[in-house]
């Protein structure tokens, strides 16, 4: 009888369950690295060996030149640039949207090219900072044309499979029915110079 009484309530002591779970939780918390697969996406030009060597003359006015030397100092359109890099963004917007008004600036957005030339000794940090601002200028102009915010625009171009996104993408880039793009993003990243490594 006394034995039965002892068996009446067979229960596993689960009070330490929380502790075990805590231990596992802390292990995963510590080992977790949340992957960040974000960054600045750029398309590279084709293999230089397979490109035909055609000398294309680009008029000076259609080029917006940014040069960075090995000490991370900048030249914008041939003049030393000491202000904040973010001002380059507005300069590019003005340059691209010139449409032939200023004879020193671009003919049309279609012909405008932003050229970024660095030195072999330029740090990646500076390069990223400048590239970020160039891309920001274009993304903001595109977003404005498509009537969305810049963040939304970047999300749109990351997911072009959706027809709605594709439509906005074509609108922003000014794609004509013939398939020509009126507002291309032309960023030329020149091969770095070797002066002063």
């Amino acid at each position: 009888m006394a034995r039965n009484k002892g068996r009446a309530n067979p229960e596993i002591n689960s009070s330490s369950m929380a502790d075990i779970a805590f231990l596992l939780l802390i292990f995963f918390l510590v080992t977790t690295t949340i992957a960040n697969d974000k960054g600045l996406l750029i398309p590279l030009p084709p293999d230089p060996d397979q490109m035909e060597d055609i000398d294309i003359k680009i008029p000076e006015r259609n080029l917006f030149k940014i040069q960075v030397n090995s000490a991370d100092k900048m030249l914008v359109e041939g003049e030393p640039f000491t202000r904040d890099v973010s001002e380059v963004k507005d300069m590019i917007k003005e340059f691209v949207n010139n449409n032939g008004r200023d004879p020193e600036s671009s003919d049309s957005p279609k012909k405008a090219i932003v050229s970024l030339k660095t030195d072999r000794g330029t740090t990646q940090a500076k390069f990223i900072e400048v590239l970020d601002n160039i891309q920001a200028a274009y993304y903001e102009m595109y977003a404005q044309r498509a009537g969305v915010s810049t963040e939304e625009w970047r999300k749109i171009i990351d997911n072009l499979k959706e027809p709605d996104n594709k439509r906005l993408y074509d609108l922003g880039r000014g794609k004509t029915p013939e398939g020509e793009i009126e507002f291309p993003m032309q960023i030329s990243i020149a091969e770095p110079s070797k002066i002063g490594g």
Binding site: K38, G39, L40, P48, Q124, G197
Partner: protein, 152 residues
């Protein structure tokens, strides 16, 4: 007076029977989201920040290259190096590495391979442009410079 007495009699402890369930929930969350690192990164990685971040749509198409100053400077020197998988490679070996990475993908998707360059802030453009040239030769022309979001 009797009112106070009653209050003193009520149970004071918080029921903790749901605690393991809550902890398990958190545990499962972290177990599911965790990506175990496949390679040990042997180079310094101070990733620069930027504002115009793009997200990669398909992670299976992404291959990583790490560039920076080696962590073990007495063994490898202080010059920035390129790390692919677990070894240091020279810029000229990048073409071969891309070919190997492409072989891992489906035939139809090989052209869509994206190379994510995780470059230390202090690395010089010279080395990066050498990699870019090799990538162009290997026909891997989608390039992502890994950055983190700039916070104002």
């Amino acid at each position: 007076m009797s009112k106070f007495k009653k209050k003193a009699n009520t149970k004071q402890d918080i029921p903790t029977s749901a605690l393991p369930d809550i902890i398990f929930m958190l545990l499962f969350f972290f177990m599911v989201t965790t990506v175990l690192r496949e390679v040990t990164i042997n180079v310094k990685q101070r990733i620069p920040d930027a504002t115009q971040l793009r997200k990669l749509e398909r992670k299976s198409l992404v291959s990583y290259l790490y560039v920076g100053e080696p962590k073990k400077t007495d063994q490898w020197g202080t010059e920035p190096r390129i790390q692919a998988n677990d070894v240091f490679i020279e810029p000229k070996d990048v073409t071969l590495w891309v070919a190997q990475e492409k072989d891992k993908l489906n035939e139809v998707e090989r052209d869509q391979i994206t190379i994510a360059l995780k470059v230390d802030e202090e690395a010089k453009r010279g080395l990066i442009s050498d990699i870019e040239l090799q990538l162009r030769k290997a026909n891997a022309r989608k390039l992502l410079y890994s950055t983190i979001l700039k916070l104002d």
